[in-house]
Assembly symmetry: C2
Homo-oligomer: 240 residues x 2
Amino acid sequence: MSSSRAAASLPAGTRQPRRGDGYHHGDLRRALLHAGLALVAERGVDGLTLREVARRAGVSRAAPYHHFADKSALVAALAERGFEELEAALRAVAEGEPGTPLDRLRRLGVGYVRYAVEHPATFRLLFRPELRLPVLPGPTAEGSAGSAPGGTAGRPDLDAAAHAGLATFRLLRDTVVAARNAGLVAGETDALALAAWCSVHGLATLLLDGPLAVEGSPAQQADVLADQVTAVLAHGLLPR
Amino acid sequence: MSSSRAAASLPAGTRQPRRGDGYHHGDLRRALLHAGLALVAERGVDGLTLREVARRAGVSRAAPYHHFADKSALVAALAERGFEELEAALRAVAEGEPGTPLDRLRRLGVGYVRYAVEHPATFRLLFRPELRLPVLPGPTAEGSAGSAPGGTAGRPDLDAAAHAGLATFRLLRDTVVAARNAGLVAGETDALALAAWCSVHGLATLLLDGPLAVEGSPAQQADVLADQVTAVLAHGLLPR
DNA sequence: TGTACATCAGTGAACGCGCGTTCACTGATGTAC
DNA sequence: TGTACATCAGTGAACGCGCGTTCACTGATGTAC
């Protein structure tokens, strides 16, 4: 139990050799996470069971309990990895080519939607109600974002996922700030960031679970729609 | 079985006396739907079980099978009722007071978000992956919306829910058309409607399951954020 | 270097649970004559 | 109006299932002397 906690509190993705490395399985924790993500991708969040994860890792049903306190701890760890994936994808797409902060903002939006379409089950996992993230400072309180996490109180094992989520969203907000500083967008920072985020998040969820459903189809369609939505967001509904 | 199908194919909400009325229970189908919505509201979509629904209706476990072929048929019927509720709420808020089509559009958006916040579980039910709605005609094909449902193929019991959903979304699109005809908004109709919908849908889902989570808090906060988001959408990110 | 010991990631069996669904049935309701 | 019959919405027991989790255990690994 104490060893499991120690392993669980290590930052995921860390590649330093750990004390437990090379034990019986080698790195069962990592193998379980890998199997979990694959299982979610194949059968959806509801299809995720500890037993099947253990099965895929080639290990007994009880083995995962040496690495995760219970099922929700596994889910939280998967969400953490998902957010890290999402953030990496967004950074790559935003910083990959040159351009103004506005260009980057646009690419962030399209990348967000594309990630959702390409990893539908993982994306859904990130926004499961039970992983509800800390409340961001309200748009009325102009200030640094993410300084007051308070949504995972009493569940320290969810905090890692929550912080991974916040880091992702900070990427969007920082880009809005940059665009505003460059005079490329006008308005109140948090309101702009919120609106931008709502637009692409709405498109992503409508594509996955709504009447626009294109799950399984090429990401190309998602790109087209994301371009449209971000264009309308940029220019506004009102005539200019 | 044949009776169950007959009952299930009746338009829900119809108040005409049915042949089955006044039998043993009176109107078990309606009671099951009522219990189902209450259960979803209390325990979430995952907490919805046929057994508990039957329990709450004061009836044996097997009784619901005379009214719904299986669990998914119940879920579909619940979604249909949910969409009807949502549409009624939106109509009320949009047509309640006078105003330009743009005013109505704004009120629709705020009403959408408020419905989600006030009925979180039901709202989530409407956008469950397994109820994925028919694909709307793409924004590239300018034309009448909803003429080609194709997402519930092979599941006729889902069609009712799908059509209830489409009727709801048509409300939004029609309002965009009216605003455009009045010269109050500029751009391509479907792109405008999609962007508007994405904005409020994104806000709604972020409020329910994201870092803005306010479930249980007063709808007032949702109104404030919805006002902000729709304002940004109206004016656009770019300086004017 | 060897030996005794502590650690701990695994095993395998078992627990209790609630689920969806099926089945033969019962008995109230409606109908035909 | 009365009787015989058909209909069908209910019942209650049972099915098989996969789940999360616990438990005493085993045996490989690492450590202290």
